[in-house]
Amino acid sequence: MAKEYFLRMGDGEKIFMTKEQILADLQDGSADAADLASVPALSDDDMDKILEIMINPNRIVGVEPGMEVPVTHDIGAIRIDGDQGNSGVGIPSSRLVGSMMHERAFGADTMELGHIDYSFKPAKPVISQECQTMESCQQNMIIPMLYGAMPNMGLYYTPDGPFENPGDLMKAFKIEEAQASMFHAAEHGIRDMVWINQRLFKVGSDGTNFDTIGAAGDGDMYASLNAIEALRKEFPNMYIEAGMAGELVLGLHGELEYDGTVLAGLWPHEQVKLIEKAGANIFGPVSNTNTSKSSAWNLARSVTFTKATVESSSIPCHVNMGMGVDGVPMLETPPIDAVTRASKAMVEVAGVDGI
């Protein structure tokens, strides 16, 4: 009987596969990404390298010496304190303490301050508190400290915001009204994101992390790109990281453009070109995990998207290795065997600059 190796499904379930089955899944996963995004599939050498990583008998794997990359932690400031069903550990601590623990105990290379709602819009009414905490962090820490939040344009639509929900409008076949609502929401989103970052930068923030861009479709991407452009013009030295929500910009509006490029339907290697134009320093590519496929299929697919992105990018790419993305299973606290394998493949095969 052929030897079987321990892998996981995209939902984290433990599975066992032979080397041949793993290789077949690696090829299928890579072919899927190549077909969707019209990018090259992985080479045989790349496949062999990922196979080697997947069947490594150790529970935890790491990169080869000399290939270490910077790591940061989104919303890590509340990861220690958080105990509301997120991946926090429920140890009472301030955001300053959480950030300092990441810096001094966990080896984070950069950190970000994040609000419990982790979206720009709800940070507006508590901006004074955010500025106060940012200032405290900056006075106590050495590593770059950004402010992080999601553009989350969904909060601008009813019932959470002032603009009529495009989903409701489209159900009533009011397409033009839905598009107008998305555009107006984006204009407000741009204004809010710029305003919040202006204040935080004035109290010493090193920059900002736009996290999960595109979560509310192309309107979300439109707002983020324009906010990045405005911030870059006003603050030439601001450090701006732009991370995506998913592999494809969904066309909820369908016709929004940035610099003459239609945003709907962009894949990671195309997204990064607009992020560069807008003026960000770092791009965070994301590809989605399919929970019904093996970690081999998912990882090869993600590495294919990401490798093409790294190759087409002229700014550093820091891949998002969180739950349910980039070859990591969809679990609140993803298993370390899968996270380390996916991370190693991203660094050594896709060539990412950071995580």
């Binding site: 489209m170 009533a172 397409i175 598009q179 066309g251 369908g254």
Partner: protein, 219 residues
């Protein structure tokens, strides 16, 4: 003038009509329909031109090349093209192919796919009574009784409203109509296996398949 059948000129017209729908622009579709009128029969324009374009839109939607607003705009543009041909459609009242009641279940406001199915069935010679969207169960039953329908088409586009298809079948049984009426189900969450599970006579994935299934069951 020769109409129908395949030749290069027809294929060019089909392509123009199909591309017009893929463009999602109503004015382009209307211009393509105007150009094809007199050269092709109305059902031919709809089936081999406009519907072929809608199928292409569906494929592009699945591939992430087009999105929901595009699909809706394309469907709206196609509907405008179909409306332009209304007077040139076959006289269905005397066609004798069968009478079909078609609607979207209660709680579900999706209309476009169901309307395209109605149009395609009508253009294929069936007498179609489109009772709209968000239709209460008893309205299906009453319309079947009123029109002495041979088939009822029940559409649902959401998993939350899919159960409405089962409810319509149960109501037909309660009213003693089930043996006289064929039931076709469709919509994004419906499947062949779902149709079998709830006791429908068939499932149709798209408008063309709906026509073929209706012909199989009624003719």
């Amino acid at each position: 003038m020769w109409k129908g059948g395949y030749n290069t000129a027809n294929e060019d017209l089909y392509k123009e009509l199909s591309d017009a729908v893929v463009s999602c622009k109503k004015d382009i579709v209307l211009a393509a329909v105007e150009n094809a009128r007199g050269k092709l029969d109305a059902p031919d324009i709809i089936e081999n031109g406009l519907s072929a374009g809608m199928n292409e839109v569906g494929i592009m939607f699945e591939r992430g090349k087009l999105f929901l607003p595009h699909v809706m705009m394309a469907a709206g543009a196609m509907q405008a093209g179909v409306d332009l041909l209304k007077d040139e459609m076959p006289d269905t009242a005397t066609s004798g192919k069968g009478t079909i009641v078609n609607g979207t279940v209660e709680g579900d406001v999706h209309d476009i796919g169901k309307s395209i199915v109605s149009t395609m069935l009508q253009s294929s010679g069936f007498v179609v009574h489109d009772i709209g969207r968000d239709v209460p169960i008893m309205d299906f039953i009453n319309k079947v009784k009123e029109t002495n329908a041979d088939m009822v088409g029940v559409s649902a586009l959401m998993t939350t409203t899919l159960g409405g298809q089962k409810d319509v079948i149960a109501a037909l049984e309660e009213e003693g109509l089930r043996d006289k009426v064929k039931v076709m189900v469709g919509g994004a969450p419906a499947t062949d296996s779902w149709a079998r599970k709830i006791g429908a006579d068939c499932y149709a994935e798209n408008a063309s398949e709906a026509v073929n299934k209706a012909k199989e069951l009624l003719l």
